[in-house]
């Protein structure tokens, strides 16, 4: 099952790459640097999904105290941190030629940076507590509290004046651009979501094996 997800994500990513460079046209105002759009929003989307999974799995753990829920939360937080870090980095790379700066303390960028730091803290907390049950309990609480930052991240572009553009897909009325831009974006969103599922499944299985080896 995990291996199948791995192969599926590899095929989907290859298709997404071909569509981003072969199918999608050169954008008229930004030029080819706009092709970063086929990797940056999918990374940010996966970060949202990952932290939402952390919150749901943390609630499930606190309700039933099943180690599988804790492993899912831990794995999803770790993968989410990797994807959030990449979303920040690719956004920064995109920002330099379009905004003229690598970084600015606007509401969207700052709230994402806070989200990233909170989940890095979540992983550090896990590493510092030796008792696995206590670590799982504390991290479940932190995972739920940190998820409260996600609506702030998403709506920051509406609530404050920011340099970052409003969402292209996740907005009322949906995507307004042409299909030749929409399809490569959708394929890459699906590819990165499958990749996330593969990495989380692999990591959660490893966490289960590590716990079994320690017991």
């Amino acid at each position: 099952m995990v291996r199948a997800l791995g192969w599926l994500s590899a095929i989907a990513l290859a298709t997404g790459l071909v569509m981003a460079f072969g199918v999608a046209p050169r954008e008229s105002s930004q030029g080819n640097v706009q092709r970063i759009m086929y990797v940056h929003p999918p990374l940010a989307w996966v970060a949202y999904v990952a932290f939402a999974v952390v919150a749901v799995a943390s609630i499930a753990y606190l309700a039933r105290r099943r180690p599988a829920a804790d492993h899912l939360a831990h794995a999803s937080a770790e993968v989410g941190v990797v994807f959030t870090g990449l979303a920040i980095a690719t956004g920064s790379i995109w920002g330099k030629p379009t905004w003229g700066t690598w970084w600015t303390w606007d509401a969207r960028l700052t709230s994402v940076a806070i989200l990233f730091v909170m989940y890095v803290g979540y992983l550090l907390l896990r590493g510092t507590i030796e008792d696995p049950d206590r670590a799982a309990r504390y991290c479940a609480v932190l995972g739920i509290v940190a998820a409260l930052d996600m609506p702030l991240v998403h709506f920051s572009v509406y609530w404050w004046r920011t340099l970052h553009q409003p969402p292209s897909l996740m907005k009322p009325g949906g995507f307004t651009g042409s299909a030749v831009i929409l399809w490569p974006l959708l394929v890459n969103l699906a590819a990165f979501t499958v990749l996330y599922a593969y990495l989380v499944a692999k990591r959660a299985r490893l966490l289960g094996a590590e716990r079994g080896a320690l017991a």
């Binding site: 030029g31 640097v33 970063i36 990797v39 490893l206 094996a209 080896a213």
Partner: protein, 118 residues
């Protein structure tokens, strides 16, 4: 606006590199947790078979050499023990001299009549 291909390559390259490194980290961890394969298991390849056979041969060779050395050691030990049982010529000379009367004229007790603490 210029195309800025360098930024595009940097974004895609960084993403690919970080994800590949993370995947490799997981694969390595998975390998570390896997139990080690036994010599008679089906999964062992020819290289590991030959290496284990070589190491077995090396162990056997070392054991033979050690046995040979032990045998030699024990024979030399026997010689030493044999020699220690035989009184040496110097010991015989000392015993002979002790039986002779002293040159200073003092009477010397018979060595056979001496007690164990004398």
């Amino acid at each position: 606006m210029p195309d800025n291909w360098g930024f595009v390559v940097a974004a895609y390259g960084l993403t690919a590199a970080v994800l590949a490194l993370y995947w490799r980290h997981l694969v390595r961890k998975e390998k570390e947790l896997r139990p080690p394969k036994t010599a008679d298991s089906k999964g062992t390849d020819s290289r590991s078979d030959s290496s284990s056979a070589t190491s077995a041969r090396n162990v056997a060779g070392t054991a033979t050499a050690n046995t040979e050395r032990t045998r030699q050691t024990s024979s030399s030990d026997r010689e030493i023990a044999e020699r220690s049982r035989q009184p040496s010529s110097s010991d015989r000379e000392i015993a002979e001299r002790s039986r002779q009367p002293s040159s200073s004229g003092h009477p010397r007790p018979d060595p056979t009549s001496r007690g164990p603490l004398q």
